[in-house]
Every structure is written in structure tokens, then in C-alpha cells.
């Protein structure tokens, strides 16, 4: 028997004398509430409104917005939301930050909430989750809203990199419709400590520096007892930058065929393995704290997007750091991932949700968020090149926004989480010396082919 929401609430209104049978009935009902409620909601997702469930935002009269952010990021977001409420006092925004380690974990948490009947009105979704959320029929096509406010949309799209506009439908949509408004993005560049670099007598890296230049600096830093860079297996900051600067990529442009075992990929992995074997980078598998090592001068650099700026400010390293593109072998390369805002199909407050998205597209919101410590590169070029973004940030910060012109979207097919796991496992095996790069990547390539 399936109990409806009305049945569940009615049990609380019965205040007559309790017989044992009645007591047991109530206990049974009480026991069933969380099981059905938490696992399936009052309706199976997808059974109504094309996959939304009955949550309707899960926030009563509030407009709910779910985003990824740790405590620091939530603080910055909350200030932004307070600005929104100044402009739109009638819309009660209920923002929920999820402190997930990765975008994959964030997507999993959101999916679990949706399965539990908590469907937000707006979700901040990164590249990794955009196609899968759209393909599950959870999102509302945005064309009618965009046409309604064409001037706002035109103003926004005219001020963001054309790549971002193209990718927003090419990669984030399964049927050519527009489900998202792209927000900020992150690329990967080389953040180095200028003082540590100088103390080792290394030449500061130029914007077009090469892998060979990198090795020369690594040797000089090693002689000074300093690691040049931690080498890990995170697809965004560790795998893709080295593959892309060598003309490789984990998947083809359509995310349909793996290219993880090409000679370029193998050469990239071998290069990373050699950095560890030669003592230029710490051994993987421990608890190496890059932030602490950077401040102590035992590490010279990290690879990252905009997000390290928060830690750099906390560690008072902003003035000592500088940012340049990653060293290149065949040409410049960087992954790019962007967040985007869709309206859920189940939302009962779609107009209010669109009003909030319009606010997020505004130059004022973008500038304000950048100035209070946003961890992404603002989509608006005018903001990314303005003091709102470059003040209180390392020298060369604009390299992060310039990188979008040569960047490659982080592969995010439907089974993206498994694809990333396969990539990480292969990279780890070779980095640790447990397997040759050729064997590790060939095996992973086969696995990726199965997943795609």
C-alpha cells in the first residue's frame, strides 16, 4: 500500500483514545513516513511534471537556489543574495550551499535531494553535470524567458566569450534547446611564488614558457630544496593541463571516443611521472599540504583557477604570487569548466527564478561577486578585466580569463563521474610507478570506450 501525503498528515490529527491496534497502526504509519518521504518523496521523480516530483522548490513560499560552496564561499554568496533581496524584496530567496569536494559530489548530492522530493527552483550546475541534468528532462527550456528579456540576454552574451555561448548549447544540451544561462568559469594556470622562485635563482616564467623552461626551473628549485609543483591525478588541475599543452586530450571533441592513450597523452603522463621520480615534485599518496608548503617556501607553485585566491588572501601570499599560463610543449592549453543556472521543470516559481537569473547576469551582480571573493572568473569580460576582479589578486590574474580563448571543456559525458574515476586510476597507477604510462592509459582507454 502506498501512503499519500494526506494520509500521513491525518495521523497527527487523531486524538481519540488509543487502542493497541490503533497504537500499532500509528506506529507503523510513523515508521513509514521517513522511509517513503526520504527515499521517494510523495511522488516518484519523473512521475509528474516531467521529472520534478512534487517538491515545487521544497521551500514553501521561498525561491530555492542550490549552489556549491564551502563556508567561505557561502559567506560570499550570502552577501550577493542580500544584494538581490535589496533589488527584489518581494522574492524570498532561500539559498542552500552544499560544501561538496568536487562538482561530481555536488551533482550527486543534488540528485539525491531531488530523489528525496526536494527539487530546488534553480540549481548551480557545473559542466560536469549539465548534460545529464538536461537529458533527464528535469529542466525548463529557457527560450521563452530569453525572448521575453532579449535585451538583457543580448547585453550579457555580448560581454562574454563567444566560446562560452557556443558550448552552452553544444555541450550542455542534448537536444539543441537552451537550458542554461552560463555563469562564471574556471581555467587552469600556473600560480608561482615569486620570492621562492627568485631565491632559487630561477628565471620567472614567461607567458609562453615551455616544458623545457619548466624543467630548468625545477632543477634550480630542487637544488634549493624546493618542490616546483605537486603532481596529482585530479582531471581538471593535473591531468588535462599536461595533456592539452602537449596537443592531447582525454576524449575527442564530441566526447564520443576516448583519446586517452595517444602518444601525446603517454608523453604527458611520462613527463609527470619523471617529475616525481626526479624529486621535482613530492611523492603522491600522502598528506602534502600545498598551501602550507607555499607559505613555508618548500613549494614554488600550484596549478589552479581562480579559487586559490581565497587561500592566498588568508595566507597573505597575494603580493608574492604571480599567474602565468601552464608551460607548453606544442601550444597553450587549459581545461575549462563553467557553472550555469537552469530553472527546474518542477518549479512553481519560474518567473521569480528567471528574475533571479537575470540579476545574476547583470554587470552589477557580477562585479559585486568578484569583489567580495568569488572563486570563479566572471563570465563578463568587462568584469574579468576590471579592478573588481584583478584587485587584491596576484599579478597576471587576467591570464585566467584569457585562457578561455584556448581552453578545452572538461569532458562531461553522461557517465562523467565514472569517466573521471577511470582517468584518475590510470594516472595514479603510472604516477606511483606501479605501471607504465603506456599500459595504464591503454587499459583506461578501453574502459573509457565502454563508458562512452
Amino acid at each position: 500500500m502506498r501512503m499519500t501525503c494526506e494520509d500521513l498528515t491525518s495521523t497527527g490529527r487523531d486524538n481519540g483514545a488509543l487502542s493497541r491496534r490503533r497504537l500499532l497502526q500509528l506506529m507503523g504509519a510513523a515508521a513509514t513516513v521517513p522511509v517513503l518521504g526520504s527515499v521517494a518523496g510523495c511522488e516518484s521523480p519523473g512521475s509528474t511534471s516531467g521529472g520534478g516530483g512534487g517538491g515545487g522548490g521544497g521551500g514553501g513560499d521561498n525561491l530555492t537556489f542550490v549552489y556549491r560552496g564551502d563556508a567561505n564561499q557561502q559567506e560570499a554568496f550570502n552577501k550577493l543574495f542580500a544584494e538581490f533581496n535589496k533589488v527584489e524584496p518581494d522574492i524570498k530567496l532561500r539559498a542552500q550551499g552544499i560544501a561538496a569536494d568536487t562538482w561530481g559530489d555536488f551533482s550527486n548530492t543534488v540528485a539525491t535531494r531531488i530523489a528525496g522530493g526536494q527539487v530546488p527552483d534553480i540549481i548551480q550546475i557545473a559542466t560536469e553535470g549539465q548534460r545529464i541534468f538536461a537529458s533527464k528532462d528535469l529542466l525548463e527550456p529557457l527560450e521563452p524567458y530569453m525572448e521575453r528579456d532579449q535585451d538583457v540576454v543580448d547585453d550579457y552574451f555580448a560581454d562574454i566569450d563567444p566560446n562560452l555561448v557556443e558550448w552552452n548549447t553544444k555541450y550542455a544540451s542534448h537536444d539543441g534547446k537552451t537550458y542554461y544561462i552560463p555563469g562564471g568559469y574556471n581555467t587552469v594556470c600556473f600560480w608561482y611564488n615569486t620570492e621562492t622562485w627568485a631565491a632559487a635563482g630561477a628565471t620567472p616564467p614567461a607567458p609562453d614558457w615551455t616544458w623545457d623552461d619548466f624543467l630548468v626551473a625545477a632543477e634550480q628549485l630542487k637544488a634549493a630544496g624546493v618542490f616546483i609543483l605537486p603532481i596529482g591525478s585530479d582531471p581538471f588541475t593535473a591531468i588535462m593541463p599536461w595533456m592539452l599543452t602537449n596537443g592531447g586530450s582525454p576524449l575527442d571533441e564530441d566526447w564520443a571516443t576516448p583519446t586517452f592513450d595517444t602518444p601525446q597523452s603517454i608523453e604527458s603522463l611520462q613527463f609527470c611521472r619523471d617529475l616525481i621520480a626526479n624529486g621535482y615534485a613530492p611523492e603522491p599518496g600522502g598528506a602534502f599540504d600545498a598551501g602550507e608548503a607555499l607559505s613555508k617556501g618548500t613549494l614554488a607553485a600550484i596549478a589552479g583557477g581562480r579559487w586559490p585566491v581565497i587561500d592566498m588572501r588568508r595566507l597573505e601570499l597575494v603580493d608574492k604570487m604571480a599567474i602565468v599560463p601552464m608551460p607548453q610543449k606544442t601550444g597553450p592549453g587549459s581545461p575549462v569548466g563553467w557553472d550555469a543556472w537552469p530553472i527546474t521543470k518542477a518549479s512553481e516559481k519560474k518567473d521569480a527564478a528567471w528574475t533571479f537569473i537575470k540579476f545574476m547576469m547583470s554587470k552589477e551582480a557580477s562585479e559585486y561577486y568578484a569583489s567580495i571573493g568569488g572563486t570563479i572568473v566572471p563570465a563578463r569580460l568587462s568584469v574579468a578585466n576590471s579592478p573588481a576582479f584583478t584587485d587584491n589578486a596576484p599579478e597576471g590574474t587576467t591570464a585566467l580569463s584569457e585562457a578561455i580563448s584556448y581552453a578545452t571543456p572538461v569532458p562531461s559525458p553522461d557517465r562523467g563521474a565514472e569517466v573521471q574515476t577511470a582517468m584518475i586510476n590510470a594516472w595514479d597507477k603510472a604516477l606511483s610507478g606501479n605501471e607504465s604510462p603506456e599500459a595504464a592509459l591503454a587499459q583506461a582507454n578501453e574502459e573509457l570506450a565502454g563508458l562512452l
Binding site: R20, L23, L24, M27, G28, A30, A31, T32, P34, V35, V39, S44, P45, G46, S47, G51, G104, N108, A111, T112, I114, A115, I132, F133, K136, D137, L138, P282, E283, P284, G285, G286, A287, F288, R415, A417, E418, T421, N425, D428, K429, L431, S432, N434, E435
Partner: protein, 311 residues
């Protein structure tokens, strides 16, 4: 109060007041039981029933469920990762049971002797203390301790001329490292159980054995162990069930790697359910875990008839 004449009551018939008293008593019994019963239904029976239901469905959390019959189980038993995950889990469980039972018993024997009260309490607290920490804290702590570059263990091994392995990256060492960390963390629990068990061994039996000329080993083997056997049995069961569900340190430290060397059955379940969004398939794995634990526990109860001494 006056003495009255007892009214004879025919067998099998209750007077109305007595029936009311019995009902009240039954109701009170249910009331006392209800918190545990509700918790059991909500957190154990309910999820188990739902997992069984989900195990015959295909569900990705986002779209409607689809009934697939036994397809998830067919797929599970042909999944190449299953034998690896089961082997790792059984190895971990076996190592955990053996080290905990022997280690816990030895520690308890060491402490359960006349000694300075301060030393006794300090030792007991020190052994039990790690168990009060969270798995997350313990896992991170050991990541530091076993760091291949800066870790304490690598430092001291280097002092004596030994190259420390890269514990969590080398497939040959990662599972033993997790076993060691688990031992450090949970031995306190087994130790407390063993100590409590030792203190229930009747001293007159020990004294009688000694009077009969038994040496220490004979007293331990012929008196202490038989008297402790129910406690040992309990420790074996509890440790096995806990070990078979090992997840936290693996998720935090190795993520099931390197090369699936620490991929346990629950880690496999987690990755299937919450990374690959295959909830039905993950539920089938959960049912398998349940069946294996039940079967092994049942087997232990059968074997226990041969070695557990019931007073």
C-alpha cells in the same frame, strides 16, 4: 487492610479487572518497546525492505524506476570487480578478526593483573582513547603519519636505513596499511570487551586449578579460555560484521585504489550507487552484503556449538 477470602478463578478464564490489568500491562510493554521498535522499523527493516524492492529495479535517482527482475543480480555475478571486492573484504575481515581478538585478549591480560591503580586506569584509557575519535580524523591523522615524504614513519624508517613504501599508493601495501590503521583505531573496543570478560572468570576456578598444580599456560588454556569463550564468540561476531562493512577510511584515504587494491564491497556499493547513479544495482550489492554477513554469522553460530562453553 483486612484479610479476605481468595476467590477461586477457573483456569483459562479471566475476570474483567484482570483482563484490564493485562491489557494495561501489554500496552505498557508496547510503550516501552516502541522507541526501539520505531527505530528498528525506520532505520533497519524499512530500508532493508526498500533495498530489496530497489534491487529488482533500474533507477538513476532522476528518472522513474523501471522493473528489471533479477537483471541486477545477473549483472552483479558477472561483474569483474565483484571477486576483487569480495576478496579484499574477506581478507580485511579475517585480518581484523584475528588481530582484534588476539590483540584485544593480550592487552586485556596485560592490564588485568595487580598493578598500580593509576597505571591501570591510564593504560585502559590510553588503549580505548582512539576509539573515541571519528574515522575522518583518524584517517587524516594516519595520512600524515604515513606520508611518503614528510611522514613520521618514513622519517624513522629512513633513520635505520629502510626505504618506507608508499603505503597508500603501492597496491601491495595499501590494504595492510588500512588493516593496521583499523587495528589502532578499534582495538580499544575489543580490549574493553575482553577485559570485562576476563573479570567474569570465577577466581575460585583459577585458584582451584593452581592448587591442582596447573601452571599459568594451563590455567589460561583450560580455565580462562573456556570461561571466556562466550565473550570471544561475541567479539568474533561483532568484529566480523563491522569489518565486513569497512568504508570510512577507504573512502577518505584511498578511494578504493590503487588499482582496486582496497576496493571493498561497501566501497563498490557506494561508487555504484552514488557515483554511477545505479541505485538498483547498488541495492543488489547491498542485498549481497546482507546475505553474506547473515550466512557467515549463521555459520559461526553453528561452529560455536563446538567451542563455546555455556555456563
Amino acid at each position: 487492610m483486612t484479610a479476605g477470602v481468595a476467590t477461586p478463578v477457573a483456569l483459562g478464564t479471566d475476570s474483567p479487572p484482570r483482563r484490564r490489568a493485562r491489557r494495561r500491562e501489554a500496552l505498557a510493554g508496547w510503550a516501552f518497546l516502541s522507541p526501539a521498535l520505531v527505530l528498528f522499523l525506520v532505520f533497519i527493516a524499512g530500508p532493508l525492505a526498500f533495498a530489496i524492492f530497489l534491487s529488482v529495479h533500474s533507477w538513476d535517482l532522476l528518472t522513474p524506476r523501471e522493473y528489471v527482475g533479477l537483471e541486477n543480480f545477473r549483472r552483479l555475478f558477472s561483474d569483474p570487480l565483484l571477486p576483487k571486492a569480495l576478496l579484499n573484504t574477506f581478507l580485511f575481515s579475517l585480518a581484523s578478526v584475528v588481530t582484534h581478538v588476539f590483540g584485544g585478549l593480550l592487552l586485556a591480560l596485560a592490564v588485568n593483573r595487580p598493578m598500580n591503580r593509576f597505571v591501570s586506569y591510564f593504560t585502559r584509557s590510553a588503549v580505548f582513547f582512539p576509539y573515541l575519535l571519528s574515522w575522518a580524523a583518524v584517517a587524516l591523522l594516519w595520512k600524515y603519519v604515513l606520508d611518503p615524504t614528510f611522514g613520521l614513519v618514513a622519517y624513522y624508517l629512513d633513520k635505520i636505513g629502510i626505504d618506507a613504501p608508499n603505503w597508500f599508493v603501492d597496491p601491495a601495501w595499501s590494504l595492510p596499511a588500512i588493516i593496521g590503521i583499523d587495528f589502532w583505531y578499534t582495538i580499544g573496543f575489543t580490549f574493553v570487551i575482553m577485559l570485562a570478560g576476563l573479570q567474569t572468570v570465577p577466581s575460585e576456578l583459577v585458584e582451584a586449578a593452581r592448587t591442582d598444580g596447573a601452571n599459568r599456560w594451563q590455567v589460561f588454556w583450560h580455565v580462562t579460555v573456556p570461561m571466556m569463550s562466550p565473550v570471544l564468540f561475541f567479539a568474533v561476531i561483532i568484529t566480523f560484521i563491522g569489518a565486513f562493512q569497512i568504508f570510512d577510511p577507504i573512502q577518505i584515504i584511498t578511494g578504493g585504489g590503487p588499482d582496486d587494491a582496497t576496493m571493498t564491497i561497501v566501497m563498490f556499493l557506494y561508487q555504484t550507487g552514488f557515483q554511477a547513479f545505479q541505485i538498483g544495482y547498488a541495492s543488489a550489492i547491498a542485498i549481497l552484503v546482507f546475505v553474506v554477513i547473515m550466512a557467515v554469522t549463521g555459520l559461526q553460530f553453528l561452529v560455536a556449538r563446538k567451542w563455546v562453553y555455556e555456563r
